[in-house]
């Protein structure tokens, strides 16, 4: 995946986070892709919505019980890194 595609993917994830949070997080707060989403108000319900969105958008099923470390969901950068790795494994 080249840089251009990575940026496009981050923007899609950014949009999914915004939708998942139901507007509780402002779009400008999501401008930094390394910000910890929990500190700007993504709660457990928001994460549930986000997981649904990621699965439907990228076809990657995320089973939190299978992942000991959940830090891959803490920032948009981490989420994209995880998605790329999962898609690479599936390919």
């Amino acid at each position: 995946m080249n840089d251009h595609e990575l940026v496009a993917m981050k923007k899609r994830v950014q949009r999914l986070v915004y939708i998942a949070a139901g507007g509780k997080i402002k779009e400008e707060e999501l401008g930094r892709w390394d910000i910890d989403l929990r500190t700007i108000g993504l709660d457990s319900l928001g994460y549930l919505n986000l997981l649904e969105g990621l699965e439907r958008t990228f076809g990657v099923a995320i089973d939190l019980d299978q992942e000991e470390d959940h830090s891959f969901l803490h920032t948009i950068d981490n989420i994209v890194r995880y998605l790329v790795a999962q898609q690479g494994q599936a390919a």
């Binding site: 139901g22 509780k24 500190t39 108000g41 709660d43 319900l45 549930l48 995320i62 089973d63």
Partner: protein
């Protein structure tokens, strides 16, 4: 009494399937064996009549240890698995806790002073013995067999006491009123500490000879649908958000849901359009359950195709509507406070003596704080008479949040009130006034969120935070929420 009822179920249905969690399936006979072993473990490690707190998500071990505690003569106290250390400590000092049933990995994070090492149980569950530093000021009533909790103020959850009679009544009335049978397989996605799951799924499933199933992992629509298809689930007990996600574009196929007969929603009001779309997509009517922590289950819609209201009273439930309050002139005709009398009522709050009794009138009806009316025998809610904020079925006292925030350096004033996000989910909206308006930049949203996260249970953390120069108030200092909302909408 609860254990007697359960013992009878274990004997009567011994060859049937009782509990399925992940790949593990227990028959009633298996379950009985596991309960007896666990009861022996509790007797060996805990004093007689021990107060055992359950701070655990849904799983087979929860069911085993809950009934084991009853069999061993202990008092189970069903805590919200999201309670933080402060809230558990408050329960411990108010009600007394001799042990905590908890995931092993959470023991260290909670930092509670244990009495020896955690006792390993099956799976990733441990029993953490706790020492009683002082005798708690409150003693449960002799007839109390289970305690559950509702949100309290200042971080002290209110402990509701239930007699065995009340718990068995709630379960048997649910079985009778909803037509539950031994052929039912219930997938319960609501926490067992919550009244919805406790009353609709736990003992009731076993009284009917049915099977109780849990989902491992997050309650996402595809795993849920897969589970429904693979396990032949007939009843789904869930919350509005899950149903909304089902009907969002790209939701699971109708064929996967073919075996489902009852979909039950609770915790928050179900959006009418979601109910309609779910019926259109899957051919199933969602029953919008209405229950109150203090009274147990109240209503259920039995008639397929009836799409408004919250259904008719269950067996053992009487509902009255109080005359309209003069302060609620906006209520539709016939609406007033919902008063409920059930055979499954709590006995009282263990740590708030007199508070429950003050809300029960001379005829034994509990004043719910909800406003509603009866139309064609069905209950319709129109609002609440109290100031609590209902977020996903948990009632939050806004004064607790305001107390935390106004104690922060740099905060001059604050108010919290119910609001909705763009997904129409209820949330707590916190509005803050900085003490020094020149330094507003230093008082960031992240700082306020962090302060709330460190002092409050996660569900109490405000979902939206706004900063204003001044909170409009009445002459007696009461915040004028409607005016504030208008100001915020204008400036958005």
């Amino acid at each position: 009494m609860i254990w007697n009822a359960m013992s009878d179920c274990l004997e009567r249905h011994r060859w049937r399937r009782a509990v399925t969690g992940g790949a593990e399936v227990l028959t009633y006979e298996d379950l009985g064996g596991r309960i007896h072993t666990a009861a022996g473990l509790l007797r060996a490690h805990l004093p007689e009549g021990a107060h055992v707190g359950f701070c655990l998500g849904n799983r087979t071990e929860y069911v085993v240890l809950y009934f084991a505690a009853l069999a061993a003569g202990c008092l189970p106290l069903l805590l919200d698995a999201n309670f933080n250390t402060g809230e558990i400590e408050a329960i411990r000092s108010d009600c007394g806790l001799d042990a905590l049933v908890i995931e092993r990995t959470k023991v260290d994070a909670l930092g509670l002073p244990g009495k020896g090492d955690p006792v390993p149980f099956d799976g990733d569950v441990a029993i953490l013995p706790l020492s009683r530093l002082v005798e708690p000021p409150f003693r449960p009533r002799p007839e109390t067999e289970v305690c559950r909790f509702t949100s309290g103020t200042t971080g002290r959850p209110k402990c509701l006491e239930f007699s065995g009679h009340a718990v068995v009544s709630a379960a048997s009335n649910w079985v009778l009123g909803t037509g539950m049978t031994g052929e039912d397989r219930t997938l319960c996605l609501a926490a067992l500490s919550n009244g919805l799951a406790f009353n609709t799924s736990l003992l009731s499933t076993f009284l009917a000879g049915g099977e109780l199933c849990f989902l491992k992992g997050s309650p996402l629509t595809r795993p849920v649908a897969r589970r429904i298809a693979e396990s032949g689930i007939t009843r789904l007990v869930a919350f509005p958000t899950l149903y909304r996600n089902f009907v969002a574009p790209g939701g699971p196929d109708r064929a996967m849901m073919a075996g489902l007969k009852h979909a039950i929603s609770a915790g928050a009001p179900l959006w009418p359009d979601v109910r309609e779309e779910f019926r259109a997509a899957y051919g199933i009517d969602i029953s919008d359950y209405y229950g109150i922590a203090e009274t147990g289950p109240c209503t259920f819609e039995r008639q397929a195709g009836h799409h408004t209201g919250l259904g008719e009273p269950l067996p053992g439930v009487e509902i009255r509507i109080a005359p309209p309050h003069p302060d609620s002139p906006e209520d539709p005709e016939g609406a007033g406070e919902v008063l409920v009398r059930t055979s499954s009522m709590a006995s009282g709050y263990l740590n708030h003596p007199g508070m429950f009794e003050a809300r029960v009138d001379a005829d034994g009806f509990y004043h719910s704080g909800d406003r509603g009316r009866i139309v064609d025998g069905r209950l319709h809610l129109v609002g609440r008479t109290q100031d609590h904020i209902n977020v996903a079925g948990r009632k939050i006292d806004p004064t607790e949040i305001v107390a935390v925030v106004t104690a922060l350096d740099g905060v001059a004033d604050a108010v919290a009130f119910p609001d909705e996000d763009l997904n129409r989910e209820a949330l707590v909206h916190l509005v803050v006034v900085a003490a020094d308006r020149e330094s507003t930049n230093e008082l960031t949203k992240a700082a306020v969120v962090e302060a709330c996260r460190s002092r409050l249970a996660p569900y109490k953390v405000p979902g939206r935070i706004s900063f204003v120069d001044e909170i409009p108030r009445t002459g007696i200092g009461k915040p004028r929420i409607a005016v504030l909302r208008e100001q915020l909408n204008t400036s958005a």
